[in-house]
Amino acid sequence: MSATTLHTEIGASDEKQAAAKNASRRLGTIVVRLGAIAAFAAIMLYFVVFAPGFTSTFNLINVVEQSAILGVLAYGMTMVIIGGGSDVTEGGIDLSIAANMGLCAAVYATLLSMGYGDFLAVLAALAVGMAIGALNALAVVGLGILPLLATLAVLNVAAGMELTLTQNTVVGATSPLLAFLVSGSFLGISALAWALVLVSAIMIAIVHYTSFGLRLFAVGGHPEAARAAGINVPFYISFTYVLSGFCAAVASILTVSRLSASTPGSGELLLSVLAAALLGTVFSRRFVPTIGGTLLSVLFIGLLANGFQLLNVSSYWVNGVQGALILLVVAVTSFARGSEASR
C-alpha cells in the first residue's frame, strides 16, 4: 500500500507531546483560578483583620440576608447564561430580570395594599414574573431575536408597567408572610437568610446533579451537539427564560419583605446581577457559569460592601471596586485562555 497522506501515520511521540502541552495548559488554568481566588481571599483577610466586627455572627448573617435578593436574581441570570452560552453579544442574557423583579414587587405590594391575601398576591407575582419570562422566551426562541435585544425591549415594557402601576411611588405592604420573612428565625438564623440557603440548595441540585442540568450545559456549550443527542434545544432555552422570570418573582417577595414596601429603582440591580453571574465563572474548573460560583461572587460582593461600611469607607467606592474586580478577573481569565489558544 502506498502512502498518500500523513493523517494516518502520526507517531505516538506526538501524542505524548500533545499530552504534555495539555498538562501545562491545565496547570496554567489552575494557577489563574487559584490566583483569582487568592485575590478574593486576600481582600476578605484584610477585612477580617482591619474591619471591626466583620467576623461577628450577627454581621455575617446580615450580609447573607442582604445577599439573598441579589443571589436569587443572579441564579436566574446564571441559568440563562448556562442555557444560552456565555458569548455576551450572541449568547444567553436576560437584561429584563431586575425590571421584572420591580414589576412583580409592585404587583405583590399593590395587591396586599388592596386587601388581598398573601396566597393570591404571591400567586399573582409568580404569574407575572413567569409571564415576562415567557415573553422573553417567545422573543428569543420563537422569533429568533438576539437575547440582548429581546430582553432589552422587555426591560422597557416591565419597567414601564411598574411605573404605571405604582405611579413611581413607594407602595407599603404588610402581611403574615412578610412578617415571617423579616422576623422569623430558625437556629438563630433569620428566615430571609434561610431563603437564600434553600434556593441555593435547590438550584445546585437541579443544575449540577440532574440530567436536566447536564443537558442544559450541553445546550449552552454546543447546541448542535445537543440537538444531535436528541435534546429538545428550544425547550431548554425557553425554560431558562421562564425560570429567570420565576427567580425575579421570588426575589420580589424577598425585597418587599426587607423594605416592607415596593420601591422604584430596582432596575439598578441589573449591573450587580450581571457582575455576579459573570464573576462566578472564575470559580469553576471549566470556566463556565455555575450556581456555586455565582453564590460565592454574590457573597463576595455583599461582603465587599459590608467591609467598606465597617471600615467607614464611602459606599461610593463599592461600584468602582466591583468594576475593577470584574476587569481584573476577566483580564486574567482571557490571558489564561489566550495562552491556551496560541499553544
Binding site: 493523517h7 494516518t8 446533579y209 440530567s211 447536564l214 443537558r215 456549550g221 454546543h222 445537543a226 444531535a228
Partner: protein, 497 residues
C-alpha cells in the same frame, strides 16, 4: 431506501437514488462533494425530508422520519463535525441524552467509569478521570464520539469521514471494532474519501454521482481506479495539470530561521515561477514555519528575505505590506468573511490601492474586482453578492483573488485543498500553476503527499523541527516523503536531491 428524490430550490440534490444497507455487512459510500452522499444520509437521519421515494427498515415501510424516531430504530450517526460539548467531561459527552442515574439525578461517577471502560475495551485508550472534551486531541474527540454511538447499542451505524483526524493505530483499532460489530450482525455504513480504507474495510461500495447511485461493487474485485472513474466521469490522469515555466531567481529566502521548541536552523528559498511543497507530521514544526512567514508567530532568530530585502515579520500587517500572501487552512475563520460581499472581500487587503485620502474610490475598486472575478472565473451573481452564498471552491477563489489584488510576490498556502472536492482541487491546482507562471513564488504546506508529488517542483520535508530532506525531479514519490517525515533518515539521505 429506493427512489429517493430531493430538490432544494433549483438544485436536484437527489434523483431517484437508492441505498441498501444490510445487516452484518460494511457498506462503503463514496462520491464527490455534491454527489448526494450527505443528503441521502440526512434523509436517513430524519434531518431532510425527501420529496418522493420510500424507506423500508426491517421489512416495514416507514413514513416520516425524525431524528428521535431514527434513534429509536437503532440507527446512529457519527457526524463529520465533532459534535461534542467542549466543556463536558468524557463521561458526560458519551452519555449525553442517555445519562446514567436514578430518576432525574445523574450518577457522574458511574458515567465516568462506564465511559472509561468502553474506551479501554474498544480502543485501548486511557484518559485521566474527568478530562474535559476541549482538552482532548482531535483524534481523541473522534474516538469519544464513536464510543458514544457504541454505548447506545446501535443496530445501524453510519460513520461520515470518521478517520480524517485519526492516527494509524486508532484507525486500525476502529477498523477492528467495526469488523467485530459487523460480525455481531450490525449494519455499518462507512463514508470516506480515502480509497485504501474503503478497499481495506468494506464488503460493498455504493458509488454516487450527480444525486444518484451509479453502482454498487465489491471493492475486493474492483480496482480503486475503476471506482474513482465511476465517481468522476473523467480520466484521473488530469488530476495534476502539468505546466512548463522557467524558474527564475529566488524571491523568498529563508535562512537559519528558528522558533522556540518548534523548529530550528531552517534555510530554504523559493524562486520566481516555482511551486515548493512543505510537509511534516503534526507537531513537526512545518505549520509553525508557515505561520512565521506570515507573522502569525514571531521567529526567535534567522532571517526572511523577499526579493533581497530583509523583513521583520512581527505581525500579518508587516507580511502583507511586504508582499506575502497567505491562504489559511481555516477558510471561514481566516480566509474570507462570509458576511461581506465578494467585492469587499477581494479588496480588503489592498484598499490603499483603491483609495484616495482615506476614502474608497468605488469606480477603481469595481473595475479591479470585476477584472479578478472574470480572470478567476468566480461564479457569483454579482460582485455585491455575499460570499456566504458562494460554493466552497468559489469562496477559496475569492480568498486567492484578495491577494492577486494586492499583487503579492510570495504565496504561502496552508492546506489549500483540505475539505475540497476533486473538481475544485483541480481548479485550485490550475490557479497555483497560473500564479507561478506569472512569476510569483508559491510555498504550499500540505499533508496530501500525492498532491505534493503531483503539483510541486520541489518538496521540503520537516521532521522534529529540522529540514529532513528536499525532493524533486521525476523520481520523487509519496513513499520517500512519508519516510522522510517519519524520520527514516537513511532513506531520506539516499534520495535527497
Amino acid at each position: 431506501m429506493t427512489g429517493i428524490s430531493k430538490q432544494f430550490g433549483v438544485v436536484r440534490a437527489l434523483e431517484d437514488a437508492n441505498l441498501e444497507i444490510t445487516r452484518g455487512s460494511i457498506l462503503g459510500l463514496v462520491g464527490q462533494n455534491g454527489a448526494g452522499k450527505s443528503t441521502i444520509i440526512k434523509v436517513l437521519a430524519g434531518i431532510v425530508k425527501p420529496d418522493s421515494g420510500t424507506i423500508v427498515i426491517n421489512g416495514q415501510t416507514v413514513g416520516t422520519l425524525t431524528p428521535a424516531s431514527v434513534e429509536k430504530l437503532g440507527v446512529h450517526f457519527i457526524h463529520q463535525d465533532r459534535l461534542l460539548v467542549p466543556t463536558a467531561t468524557v463521561g458526560e459527552a458519551v452519555f449525553l441524552g442517555h445519562e446514567l442515574g436514578a430518576g432525574p439525578f445523574v450518577n457522574r461517577r458511574a458515567m465516568e467509569r462506564r465511559a472509561a471502560d468502553l474506551l479501554k475495551r474498544f480502543f485501548d485508550m486511557e484518559l485521566p478521570a474527568g478530562t474535559l472534551v476541549k482538552d482532548l486531541t482531535t483524534a481523541q474527540q473522534k474516538v469519544v464520539q464513536i464510543t458514544r454511538a457504541l454505548a447506545q447499542k446501535a443496530s445501524v451505524l453510519v460513520l461520515d469521514e470518521p478517520t480524517a483526524a485519526l492516527v494509524k493505530r486508532e484507525v486500525d483499532s476502529l477498523f477492528a471494532v467495526l469488523r467485530r460489530l459487523r460480525d455481531d450482525g450490525i449494519a455499518v455504513v462507512f463514508i470516506s474519501h480515502y480509497m485504501q480504507e474503503i478497499e481495506q474495510l468494506c464488503d460493498r461500495v455504493t458509488v454516487m454521482r450527480n444525486g444518484t447511485d451509479v453502482g454498487t461493487v465489491d471493492p475486493r474485485d474492483t480496482s480503486i481506479d475503476k471506482i474513482i472513474s465511476m465517481m468522476i466521469a473523467r480520466d484521473v490522469g488530469e488530476m495534476f495539470p502539468k505546466r512548463s515555466v522557467s524558474i527564475g531567481t529566488p524571491v523568498l529566502e529563508v535562512s537559519k530561521l528558528r522558533l522556540g521548541g518548534s523548529f530550528k536552523d531552517i534555510s530554504f528559498d523559493v524562486r520566481s515561477g516555482e511551486i515548493v511543497g512543505l510537509t511534516g507530521l503534526l507537531g513537526s514544526g512545518a505549520k509553525e514555519i508557515v505561520q512565521c512567514l506570515f507573522g502569525l508567530e514571531k521567529a526567535d532568530g534567522g532571517s526572511i528575505m523577499v526579493e533581497g530585502r530583509q523583513l521583520s515579520l512581527s505581525s500579518p500587517v508587516h507580511a502583507v505590506r511586504d508582499g506575502i500572501a497567505m491562504l489559511p487552512e481555516d477558510r471561514r475563520a481566516h480566509g474570507v468573511a462570509l458576511g461581506l460581499t465578494v467585492r469587499e472581500n477581494i479588496s480588503l487587503a489592498s484598499l490603499d490601492r483603491y483609495s484616495r485620502g482615506g476614502f474608497v474610490s468605488r469606480d477603481t475598486e469595481n473595475q479591479a474586482v470585476d477584472g479578478l472575478i472574470k480572470e478567476l472565473s468566480i461564479k457569483t451573481p454579482t460582485r455585491d453578492a455575499l460570499v456566504r452564498e458562494l460554493s466552497g471552491g468559489n469562496q477559496q477563489k475569492v480568498a486567492i483573488a484578495k491577494w492577486l489584488s494586492c499583487q503579492s510576490r510570495v504565496y504561502v498556502l496552508d492546506e489549500p485543498t483540505v475539505a475540497v472536492d476533486v473538481g475544485a482541487k483541480v481548479e485550485i491546482y490550475n490557479l497555483l500553476n497560473r500564479l507561478a507562471g506569472e512569476g510569483a513564488a508559491v510555498l504550499m504546506l500540505s499533508s496530501d503527499l500525492l498532491e505534493l508529488v503531483g503539483i510541486c517542483d520541489r518538496v521540503l520535508v520537516v521532521y522534529r523541527g529540522e529540514l529532513a530532506g528536499t525532493f524533486s525531479g521525476p523520481d520523487m514519490n509519496s513513499d520517500m516523503l512519508l519516510a522522510a517525515s517519519s524520520g527514516a533518515r537513511s532513506i531520506a539521505a539516499g534520495v535527497a536531491a
